[in-house]
């Protein structure tokens, strides 16, 4: 039986008669190891010998599969181009079965469908426009449904999935403390170091404390924290919900009469809104500590002067302004992360795209809203 015997690799015998007819007898095993070489050799034989007629004999073939069928059909195509008749001697039963399985006798039974003609420019422009319109509509409806569900949770606090929310608070907040702390500490160091070089020239090194505190609390703290959370959790939300989408879990929720928005989005938004301001506070503290380290070691300030200058330069409004911004950023990150997750269609690569897009649009929204806040504040 074929398949297990140590068959000889395929070769062929050529017989050419005086009237120009060529007989090709295949011998041995025609499979994927030899198909490419066979096709090449046969092409060469045909172009050098220029037969008027070709007869193929498969009776000494020990094994043939669709690679063998490919060899035969390529040979037939080459001959067809040159109008040389192709003739196959009655194959042995097993080879005949393989030929039938792959429609050797009726290659047109399964012709390639013509690729769809590309639409013209106007049609594609219109398509693109409606696609974007649909996209914006989905965005607005998702925003609406998130807002309605948040309202629903405020009216019926029991409908909030408490355990999920706590778990998400841990993942988004507690687990992010080390990285947020590290980054802001270094940021505080850098700010103090860079500003001290300038301020020391004027004998104003005490204002390093004010600079670090003000810049961090009202601007950099909320932004840095939000960017870290967008990278850590926004992408995670998108990937998780996206995977749930392609495995029909979101549809399962829907058919159970449970709102996917209430079930998946609201806990994430609430968790983010609670923990991101707390993370921002941590970030502020760590940055001030970083500034303190530089000031005490390099600028001859005492710890108590640094702290009292810091407290003097901050007021309640600065603090609440920074925290209010971080609440908005948190809601944006969670919302866009969930939105990208829900927009996933298709397969695994789409989940990756959604995660990327969640981070990119998250950071964009953070910066956009921060600039809006800056404008509001300057016209206050």
């Amino acid at each position: 039986m074929p398949g297990t015997l140590p068959d000889a690799p395929a070769s062929y015998n050529l017989v050419t008669s005086a009237d120009g007819a060529m007989g090709i007898q295949f011998i041995g095993r025609i499979d994927h190891h030899r198909a490419a070489a066979l096709i090449k050799a046969l092409k060469k034989e045909v172009s050098t010998r220029k037969p008027v007629k070709v007869t193929v004999d498969l009776n000494r073939v020990t094994y043939i599969d669709d690679f063998g069928v490919l060899v035969l059909s390529e040979l037939r195509n080459i001959l067809g181009h040159r109008d040389i008749p192709f003739n196959l001697i009655q194959p042995p039963p097993r080879a005949g079965e393989v030929l039938a399985l792959f429609n050797f006798d009726s290659p047109d039974a399964c012709r390639h469908v013509e690729p769809k003609e590309r639409d013209n420019f106007v049609v594609r422009l219109g398509d693109g426009f409606f696609h974007h319109l649909y996209h914006i509509r989905y965005l607005v409806s998702f925003l609406g449904s998130a807002a309605l569900c948040m309202l629903h949770v405020v009216m019926h606090p029991k409908s909030l999935r408490m355990n999920d929310t706590l778990l998400l608070m841990q993942k988004t907040g507690v687990d992010a403390v080390p990285i947020v702390g590290m980054i802001s500490f270094l940021l505080g160091l850098i700010m103090a170091f860079v500003s001290s070089i300038q301020l020391e020239q004027f004998g104003a090194s005490i204002y390093v404390a004010s600079l670090v505190a003000l810049a961090m609390v009202s601007e950099l703290g909320p932004i840095m924290t939000a960017i870290v959370v967008a990278g850590r959790s926004g992408s995670a939300f998108a990937a998780e919900i996206g995977t749930m989408r392609i495995s029909d879990e979101v549809d399962a929720l829907f058919t159970m009469g449970i709102s996917p928005t209430l079930f998946l989005v609201v806990p994430r938004i609430i968790a983010a809104i609670i923990v991101v301001p707390l993370l921002t506070l941590f970030a502020d503290l760590f940055a001030i500590f970083g500034g303190l380290v530089i000031s005490v070691t390099m600028l001859d300030l005492t710890i108590s002067t640094y702290i009292s200058q810091t407290i003097k330069s901050l007021d309640f409004f600065e603090f609440s302004w920074g925290l209010m911004k971080s609440v908005i950023f948190a809601a944006l990150i969670a919302w866009i992360g969930c939105l990208r997750g829900f927009q996933v269609r298709g397969g695994a690569s789409q989940v990756g795209n959604a995660a990327t897009s969640a981070v990119v649009s998250g950071i964009f929204l953070i910066i956009l809203f921060d600039s809006i806040f800056a404008v509001i504040r300057s016209y206050w």
Binding site: G3, D66, F67, L70, S73, R111
Partner: protein, 261 residues
């Protein structure tokens, strides 16, 4: 049928574990060239675990598995890749690459392992897809196909290099009777015309009775093979009530007693 020949796959004293959970104990199994072997058994009895061990995805906790004399429990062995070239696998969910079209999925192993030029590969892919009735779907993405089409496309990919041994995990699960019958027919034709050895995991009595030459039955409590042989003999004569229940589609005895009262 071909018992005289040396076994193509040999499993000796296989013990399969996940952590500390022993799934299979002391499995001895021979798969002979050109035969269609069905692995059957209730849910959770270790069918898929056995399959994953047979193809080298999981390593045995103990025991030896060889494919055509090559030990596949040692991934570092030089000839491990040779063993992989002898096998093709149809995964339960298809496992088509979602970012590639159907044609690209099928062409991937062909391009990797042969020197055919691109037009020949395209012709071959078309032939293969046509043989599983997917002619014309070359440029579709897996996400655009129905479950039955994905199964057939995955079958075409598993057959891309016409492996000596084909492993099929639930080839007809979740498909309509017509497509199931077509896939069964296709399995038989491939086995007959190219002599492909097949190991099929299945619950389908159709495959068991019409396609398989031999079956082995696994059981959860026995953690091993409780019956093997010709399915028709087993259905009629097996002394084991679990085996008879399976073939006669009966609920377990305890449930039946419960429902009667």
């Amino acid at each position: 049928m071909t018992e005289a020949k040396p076994a193509l796959i040999q499993v000796r004293d296989l013990i399969a574990k996940y952590g500390n959970d022993t799934i299979l104990e002391k499995i001895d199994l021979d798969v002979f060239p050109n035969e269609i072997l069905a692995i059957i058994g209730g849910s959770g009895c270790g069918k898929t675990t056995l399959l994953r061990h047979l193809v080298g995805l999981n390593r045995p906790a103990d025991g030896a598995i060889t494919i055509d004399g090559i030990d596949i429990s040692d991934h570092d062995a030089n000839d491990f890749d040779e063993a992989l070239k002898k096998i093709g696998i149809l995964f339960q969910g298809g496992a088509l690459f979602g970012s590639m079209t159907i044609a690209e999925n099928v062409a991937l192993p062909i391009k990797e392992y042969t020197d055919l030029d691109p037009e020949a590969v395209a012709d071959l892919v078309r032939m293969k897809l046509c043989s599983v009735d997917l002619g014309g779907y070359e440029d579709h993405l897996p996400s655009e196909l129905s479950g039955g089409m994905i199964k057939r496309a995955a079958l075409a990919r598993a057959l891309a290099l016409n492996p000596e041994i084909l492993f099929l995990d639930e080839p007809t699960a979740g498909l309509d009777p017509v497509i199931s019958a077509e896939i069964e027919e296709l399995i038989l034709r491939i086995n007959h015309s190219m002599g492909t050895t097949m190991v099929i995991i299945t619950h389908s009595l159709n495959i068991i009775f019409k396609v398989a030459h031999r079956i082995i039955m696994l059981d959860k409590s026995a953690k091993g093979i409780i019956a093997q042989g010709d399915p028709k003999d087993l259905k009629a004569k097996s002394p084991n009530p679990i085996v008879r229940q399976f073939f006669n589609r009966q609920a377990s005895i305890s449930k039946r007693l419960l429902w009667q009262h």
